[in-house]
């Protein structure tokens, strides 16, 4: 589904060169729920951004469904993100000036979908995350857990094959965190959505199928969760 080959990401200023990712090779299969763990600054989020085509590697190749994306134009990358990938961010990144349902419609705005169909699909996505009663609210009228559920509904609205979640429970208390994790697990198990999740929470990571550990920009462990628990 997602293939990363010899990925390097180097940030350069006039005086400093920082290697964020160092020769990372990774294959994410369809239907997997992969968690990525590691200390802050080890390159987890950078990796997720490269997987999500939001950032370009300094060297190496990214392929989605076997197709390399290196030569894709800005609009082709945008189309690929729109159709294949849904994002869930730690700080939700909802648009404050839009209502819940308008936020959820966002991925569909960039497709040729009629307004009524857009609305229908956004409401369905909100129903999946249990927020049907809050469709006309604005983000600042919701709790953190509710906002993250809206963010998940937004990621789902476009019916993507992959969800990339960057610390989706990082800003939530444990109860809310569990709720969000349950939604992601259900999506993976019932709908077969491929999920890659960056997390600091070992307990959350242990609920996924596969755990990859990073340290200093390098992949130091990659194991199925059953093995990791042993």
């Amino acid at each position: 589904m997602i293939q990363l080959t010899d990925i390097e990401k180097v940030y350069r200023t006039k005086t400093i060169e920082t290697v964020a990712l160092n020769r990372v090779n990774l294959q994410i299969e369809r239907g997997e729920f992969v968690s990525i763990m590691g200390p802050s600054g080890c390159g987890k989020s950078t990796l997720l951004n490269i997987m999500g085509l939001l950032d370009e590697p300094t060297s190496g190749f990214v392929a989605i469904d076997g197709q390399p994306v290196k030569t894709h134009s800005d609009s082709k990358l945008a189309k690929l993100r729109n159709e294949k990938i849904g994002f869930v961010f730690q700080s939700y990144h909802l648009i404050h000036d839009l209502s819940v349902v308008d936020n959820v419609e966002l991925p569909l705005l960039y497709r040729s979908v009629s307004a009524s169909d857009r609305r229908k699909r956004a409401l369905e996505a909100l129903e999946k995350v249990g927020l049907s009663a809050r469709t006309k609210h604005f983000p600042n009228q919701l709790s953190g857990g509710q906002r993250q559920r809206v963010a998940i509904a937004r990621a789902l609205a476009g019916n993507p094959e992959i969800i990339l979640a960057d610390e989706p429970t990082g800003n939530l208390d444990s109860v809310m965190g569990e709720e969000i994790m349950d939604i992601l697990l259900r999506l993976n198990q019932e709908e077969g959505t491929t999920i890659v999740m960056v997390t600091h929470d070992e307990n959350m990571a242990l609920k996924t199928n596969r755990l990859i550990r990073f340290f200093d920009g390098q992949q130091v462990a990659d194991s199925m969760v059953i093995e990791a628990q042993i």
Binding site: H93, L94, L98, R111
Partner: protein
Amino acid sequence: MIRNYIKIAWAVLQRRKFFTFISLFGISFTLMVLMVVTSFYDHAFGPQMPERESDKLLFVNNMREQVKEGYTNSGPPSYYFLNRYVRPLKTPENVSINSLFMPVNSYVNNKKLALDQKHTDAAFWDILDFNFVEGRPFSVQEVANATRVAVINQNTRKNYFGEKEAIGQTIEVDQVKYKVVGVVENVPVLRLHSYADVWVPITLKSQDFKRTGLRGTYFATIKAKKASDVPKIQEEFATMMLQVNKNKSKDIKEAFAYADDIFGTFARTLLGGGKTDKSGLLYAILAFAAFLFMLLPTINLVNINISRIMERSSEIGVRKAFGASSATIIGQFIVENIFLTLLGGLLGFLISAGVLEMINDSGILAYANLGLNLRVFAWGLLLCLVFGLVSGVYPAFKMSRLNAVEALKGGSK
């Protein structure tokens, strides 16, 4: 999608009220000034009563004589020149000779009434499209007989006769009595070639007919059969001027006169005569002045837009993450900016309507009837769109180039 953009634009406007006020004030004030100027332009040069068929009309209002000592004399042409050389032109449908309007006095109930009087021939009424509210124009026969008849405007009728009918009544202007045969709607003073309060037969000024110089106090109004004939008339006019120069007095080195459309006459007068048509140059100067006038508020709006959009970098990041290309982001911000400028434009329209009404009521310009008609509206709308595009494109382009990851962090890279 557009609805979503407009929702966002509206919410952003409400969120930062001070920025919104500054933006809207700048836009509406700039557009108001431009709309008032456009309205003046339309009023003075547009196809308005009585010069509705302005695309078929040409005016001769200046005769420039280069005299041997190197001096130039210039002023309105004489009756002699217009009657001998211009009236016989073959390509026009009709030619009228009429005087400049002159201030005259009249007394009504011992109260002095300052009026402007114009002497015209009968062709004047055929060529121009006056709105008669009573009676008729004076006839060819009345002009030939130098009959003391007058057409007056509504304002003069009101001053003389109140609400009563004026036809058949007598008015006394500069101690000469005229019988009123017609009443027309007021013509604004900006229509220099048609305006007056009282129009009387040109033959009542026959003392001018004997003077043979080229300069005098008359205009010619020429009507073409169709708009496409205008260049042919100008060509024939130029050929005729060669003849004039052959027959001119020895004191004159060369004589220049032109048949221009209404804007052309203004341009040539304003830009100091010359052999070439100055309309293009004057349009360019006006466009440049409008550009300069719009430049400052545009730069201001660009700056406000950039800081306003920078606050929304996270939104740009999210939109990019969910499938918006850079081009889509540019489109969104341009739509938002056009929405803002149209809103400012709407306010500008309302303020312009008020300002124009004030100018009309103030009496600064006699019989001014400045208004926001469809032409002015279309110009205003065009100005709004240009303003919106110009002030929106650069910020939108700058923001669309934000790296999605940096944008999500709220950065400014």
